[in-house]
């Protein structure tokens, strides 16, 4: 009895069993790990300033924003801008363009990258494979400005496409591809494939190298030829990677890119090239209609957030790897 009393008196803080909690402990730990705190917290502050603070700007979407006035002086208009957007013909066209182009991105991106990966995977000559891969990455590394310049000169009236078509007698006079709206979606598709197909194969090729070789041998025994092997061994082997990436990329459905549309878009093809980002730029910076611009951007981000969240959950539920 006395021993226990002594113990109780000797240690005023009763040692709790299990993990200690409470603010005191928390700050104690912070102090013990202060090096780690110094290495991370300043950057969290940076994050807060540069990534979270701008969200405050979303209030502009609910105001009739005039830069000259301070925050409290702004006129509040509620959902007026959103109502405008959803009844505006131009915005629907913009939405249509965005969805078309991002679907193109999604489908084309996958099909071309997987196909190219399959073909590269079949190359037995290591040197050839290396060279082909290295060259295929080239367009990914140049900037879109350079790429757009190349695309422009390729598609120009005295560029190689027109020259070839003329020489083959397929057309009588040059086509100004970038001046015809209906061509834009095709040009967009071709551009993004040219730029990134090589890069996109990296993940699929990596997944293919992880397929158990004995599966191929087994398929051989069963008399499978090249194509059968691809269909029954390779493709199923990369299935999980494809599914994860497919799901994650649907989260980016409203992100149809910006550089291509800006650099190759012009007054003649704008009905087909203007997507949400360009719309935001046009209304925001060029026409100084800040409120409408922010409303459109906000709409995009919120929908993207929901899509990404759903995609991430779906992918997690399917038991595949998550985004983080």
């Amino acid at each position: 009895m006395t021993m226990e009393n002594n113990a109780a008196i000797a240690s005023p803080h009763v040692a709790k069993p299990g993990k200690p909690t409470g603010f005191k402990h928390f700050f104690k730990q912070l102090h013990a790990q202060r090096a780690l705190v110094i290495m991370s917290v300043p950057f969290v502050i940076w994050l807060f300033i540069f990534k979270y603070l701008p969200l405050w700007g979303w209030t502009i979407a609910f105001q009739k924003y005039k830069p000259a006035r301070s925050f409290s002086e702004q006129e509040w208009v509620g959902l007026e801008h959103f109502k405008f957007l959803f009844t505006d013909e131009r915005f629907f066209r913009v939405l249509r363009n965005t969805l078309v182009m991002s679907f193109e991105n999604l489908i084309l991106g996958f099909v071309t990258a997987i196909t190219l990966a399959l073909l590269l995977n079949e190359v037995k000559n290591i040197l050839f494979k290396r060279v082909a891969q290295t060259i295929s990455y080239l367009p990914h590394f140049i900037s879109w400005v350079v790429a757009a310049g190349i695309i422009q000169s390729t598609l120009s009236t005295d560029g190689i496409i027109n020259t070839l078509l003329m020489n083959l007698g397929l057309i009588d006079e040059e086509i100004l591809f970038l001046g015809i709206g209906k061509w834009f979606w095709g040009i967009y598709g071709a551009s993004i494939v040219w730029k990134d197909v090589g890069w996109n194969t990296i993940v699929y090729l990596a997944a293919m190298t992880m397929i158990d070789p004995s599966l191929y041998e087994a398929a051989e025994m069963d008399g499978a030829g090249r194509f059968k092997k691809m269909w029954h061994v390779t493709l199923p082997g990369i299935k999980s990677v494809v599914i994860v990436l497919l799901i994650m990329n649907t989260g980016y459905l409203l992100e149809s890119g910006f550089d291509v549309q800006y650099l190759l878009g012009n007054g003649m093809n704008i009905d087909y090239s203007e997507n949400i980002d360009i719309f935001v730029l046009n209304y925001g910076i060029k026409m100084s209609n800040y409120s409408l611009s922010v409303a459109a951007g906000m709409f995009k981000t919120i929908v993207s957030f929901i899509l990404l969240f759903a995609a991430n959950n779906l992918s997690r539920r399917l038991g595949e790897a998550r985004l983080y």
């Binding site: 780690l36 290495m39 300033i49 502009i60 190689i160 990296i202 922010v294």
Partner: protein, 318 residues
């Protein structure tokens, strides 16, 4: 080698037996291979052609290029275009700014990202979840063009060099691949340093960082490419200040001008240096295209091992 194999296979197999494959290749396989190699070669040529073409034009006399017909090599060799581009004060200065932002931006990005990645790789770090979620959340939400612009304005980053560095300091993708890499390091190394009594700073700088060289090479490449290729931020924030322009932005301006009427083009051709230097927008464009892409094109093949690893970690493992 393949041909000998196939020849032997066909002679051994007697009359064409399609069913019996074994490890020998049938004619079907052969045809596929030929088609595959041909297709891939064509793909490579199509990818390379534009660059070869631009190089040819850049080394070709400007006035001669106007006649057209330059495809794979220069007809009238000259270094005039390059001389002009590098002597032009604006472009020379823009190149300097490009180099500066690439080097500084990359160094700062790599160090900051590595630091944060290290802290969140530590399972015992008390703020680990908080920091991780804070960063990951930014992949889902984005303030948008206008709010970001207004923020830069109030931070005084408009018309400033630092707008190239601060906003893009840490990218979540880079963070994740560094963290994954650190987590993949053998435990005993980090344990040993703890036993030796090394503090976190010491552990980070003397042990973790050197071990992370491969993934840091990857991040340096990604960051370097991003910095070198950026043009939109120049346009939005610094277009009014010619001293802050970068190579990509200057190229972009020339591209825009090229779309304008040819009268403007000839005006450009006649402006600048008098007499000797004969340059046209076409030749300037080609030359600048090469200058703007050559550094990266010459570097990336050597870093292939690293970025392939990086993409695997980021894409496959998640």
């Amino acid at each position: 080698m393949a041909m000998a194999e196939a020849a032997v296979a066909r002679s051994e197999a007697g009359p064409k037996k399609r069913k019996h494959r074994g490890i020998r290749r049938s004619t079907g396989d052969w045809v596929f291979d030929i088609c595959n190699y041909t297709f891939l070669t064509l793909l490579m040529l199509v990818t390379l052609y534009p660059f070869v073409n631009q190089i040819a034009i850049s080394f070709n006399s400007a006035t001669d290029s106007l006649k057209g017909g330059i495809y794979l090599w220069p007809r009238v060799w000259t270094l005039e275009n390059y001389k002009y581009v590098f002597k032009e004060a604006t472009i020379f200065h823009a190149t300097l700014i490009s180099v500066l932002r690439t080097v500084l931006g990359t160094v700062l990005t790599v160090i900051s990202s590595a630091m944060v990645a290290y802290t969140i790789s530590r399972p015992d770090y008390v703020l680990r979840k908080f920091v991780t979620i804070a960063f990951v959340l930014t992949m889902y939400v984005n303030g948008g063009l206008i709010p970001t612009f207004l923020l830069m304005k109030s931070l005084g980053l408009i018309n400033s060099f630092w707008v190239y560095i601060w906003p893009g300091l840490i990218g979540v993708f880079n963070l994740i691949i560094i963290r994954s890499f650190i987590e993949g390091l053998p435990d005993n190394i980090l344990e040993a340093s703890k036993i030796d009594g090394a503090g976190d700073f010491r552990t980070f700088f003397s042990i973790v960082l050197p071990l992370c060289t491969p993934v840091l090479a990857t991040v340096s490449l990604f960051s370097g490419v991003y910095q070198w290729n950026s043009w939109f931020d120049v346009m939005i924030y610094n277009s009014s200040n010619i001293k802050l322009s970068t190579l990509q932005y200057e190229l972009q301006k020339i591209l825009q001008n090229s779309n304008a009427a040819t009268t403007a083009a000839s005006a450009f051709a006649n402006s600048g240096n008098a007499g000797a230097a004969q340059v046209t927008p076409l030749s300037i464009r080609a030359t600048m295209t090469i200058v703007a892409s050559a550094p990266i094109i010459m570097v990336y093949p050597f870093l292939q091992k690293y970025f392939v690893q990086g993409m695997m970690v980021g894409g496959v493992k998640g």
